[in-house]
């Protein structure tokens, strides 16, 4: 049986990756299993300089999901290169760095540095809902996405994936911008902007007031968006949003995703990703399919 997929020029041994911000730089999860069991680790959002993040509370549970407003706290690319990258390299898995910044210049400079590192690809995060600058400023329009993506493309020889926000009217437009700018792939979705209110305090639970919604609650929205984008662009799609099992992963692949990421599902079950690999395998067995690539985009609409 073949589980290998080629995502934007990155050969993944299986289609299961772990989503940015839900797996750190892999250390905490390496206590549980060999990271070589999954297709790729997508790192926590990493910026040019260290970032301290938002005031707490930063997280809150919601029906079948959670809200977060971490604010991209991370140690910066230099620290990553010296400390986390060598650690991750010990495992037989691909390393994709989720890159974030405040300005177009930040993104370009960061990509310049990432291009020199021993990593397998870059996921440009144009979709964080919890920081004031950057993502929301140019991640929501065709022009904005195309501009930053094509500038990063110029300095980056490695595979380039762009991660999109669902907080737009038509996600196929920003996806098209990614393709037109010459990127190798597109990933979706990031979190949906949400808010939870503490009715006794009459105040939002998160210090940031709003946060990004993730988890099984958003899965149908994500599946729909992956399907729509698959109809519109030819570059491969990394699908995510609420995946907790192999069956969920298959659903995204049928909708058109070449590979998937497990996000906050890792928090509920630290073994969610390797279990999803097994789940995909049993689906293929059950349906007598030899190659996982055969299910990509195979949903038949009613």
């Amino acid at each position: 049986m073949n589980l290998e997929v080629n995502l934007a020029g990155i050969k993944l041994k299986n289609p299961v990756t772990v989503a940015s911000g839900t797996f750190g730089y892999g250390r905490e999860f390496s206590d549980f299993y060999d990271l070589g069991k999954i297709g790729a680790v997508i790192t926590k959002g990493t910026s040019l300089k260290p970032k301290n993040g938002n005031k707490p509370p930063r997280v809150c549970e919601t029906p079948a999901g959670m809200l977060n407003a971490i604010g991209l706290q991370n140690p910066g690319v230099e620290y990553f290169a010296q400390n986390d990258l060598p650690f991750l390299r010990k495992f037989d898995t691909k390393i994709i760095v989720n890159a974030c910044g405040n300005t177009v210049e930040d993104y370009v400079e960061l990509c310049r540095i990432l291009n020199t590192l021993d990593i397998d690809g870059v996921e440009l995060n144009l979709s964080c809902p919890n920081v004031k600058q950057g993502c929301l400023a140019f991640g929501t329009t065709y022009e904005g996405v195309k501009n930053v993506t094509s500038q990063c493309r110029k300095v980056l020889d490695k595979p380039l994936i762009v991660k999109l926000t669902p907080n737009v009217t038509d996600i196929t437009e920003t996806a098209k911008a990614v393709e037109d700018a010459g990127a190798d792939g597109v990933s979706l979705i990031n979190t949906l902007l949400g808010m939870v209110i503490d009715i006794d305090k009459k105040r939002p639970v998160l210090a940031n007031n709003t946060g990004g919604l993730s988890g099984p609650a958003i899965k149908p929205v994500a599946v729909r968006m992956v399907y729509q984008v698959a109809q519109k662009v030819n570059i491969p799609i990394l699908g995510l949003g609420g995946i907790v099992s192999g069956d969920d992963a298959v659903e995204f692949m049928l909708a058109g995703a070449k590979a998937v990421s497990i996000g906050c599902g890792n928090f509920a079950d630290p073994y969610a990703a390797p279990k999803a690999v097994e789940g995909i395998e049993s689906y293929l067995k059950k349906h007598n399919i030899e190659d996982v690539n055969e299910i990509i985009g195979k949903v038949q609409m009613n």
């Binding site: 797996f23 905490e28 005031k55 509370p57 549970e61 928090f267 509920a268």
Partner: protein, 264 residues
């Protein structure tokens, strides 16, 4: 040995109050390596609702038999489901978690102070410290008589136990910290260990600063992953600049901190 995920058998359940339960689970791998002040994360259901694990502190470790005890108050969806588990059920637990743990090794005369349902993790601390020959002075505060809990248990592991109620309906009248303060001033205490509601912890920290005495506090914050990955449960470091505060994680750097290190 690192943290593990285990399906632990629930061997004993006890209802301590209408809404407070004590569970004993078989968790050899966790118990073998657990340190004082650490916590566990419990998944109360196989379904996706409620979604996140519940962080719960370790109340008692029976190292010989590999039994871990935790006490929880029923507060919401997760703890309601948990409270309905029966002896013999398997519970999905990750632990032990947290690198910041209580450390009394350099001290002799311990002042352990807790309030309300924050007293549970202090039991293992008092027990081990007493075993190690320390002089254990414990101060437990409750709002009123009905809420007093675990008096006998703490009495057994303390050289001196003070129970105080805010309204004087049981034990000494007033806040537990007042009695801790007296004993510090009388030279009976050389270090403080605290867990409880934030206002109490803040007062204890202020007292420790005023009387220049080392103080460790166990903090709580809303958590998602509980193991340092999501950086959700942050607390500000005291030294960090006002305009660009730095944060550490309660779940990883804590839950126990040197009171001077963090701002809460």
């Amino acid at each position: 040995m690192p943290k593990v995920q285990v399906l632990s058998k629930l061997v004993k359940t006890e209802k301590l109050k209408e809404d407070i339960f004590k569970f004993s689970v078989e968790a050899k791998e966790i118990v073998a390596q657990a340190k004082i002040g650490q916590f566990i994360e419990i998944r109360v259901t196989d379904s996706v609702e409620p979604f996140l694990r519940r962080p719960i502190s370790i109340h008692n470790l029976d190292k010989e038999n590999g039994i871990l005890e935790f006490i929880f108050q029923v507060k919401g969806k997760g703890t309601t489901i948990l409270s309905k588990k029966k002896e013999g059920d398997l519970i999905d637990i990750i632990g032990p978690l947290g690198y910041g743990t209580f450390d009394y090794s350099k001290f002799q005369k311990l002042g352990i102070i807790g309030g309300g349902i924050g007293i549970f993790p202090l039991y293992e601390l008092a027990k081990e410290a007493k075993k190690d020959g320390k002089n254990v002075n414990t101060y437990l505060g409750f709002r009123n008589k009905d809420l007093v809990i675990l008096e006998k248990e703490f009495d057994e592991v303390s050289n001196n136990l003070v129970i105080a109620t805010d309204d004087g309906s049981y034990g000494k009248n007033g806040f537990a910290i007042n009695f801790l303060k007296e004993d510090i001033e009388n030279g009976k205490i050389d270090s403080i260990y605290a867990c409880g509601p934030l206002p109490m912890l803040r007062a204890v920290k202020d007292l420790a600063v005023e009387l220049n005495i080392p103080c460790q506090v166990s903090l709580e914050e809303k958590m998602a992953c509980g193991m340092g990955t999501c950086v959700g449960c942050s607390v500000k470091t005291a030294q960090s600049p006002k305009d660009n505060p730095e944060y550490v994680n309660v779940c990883k750097a804590g839950p126990v901190f040197d009171a001077n290190y963090v701002e809460f």
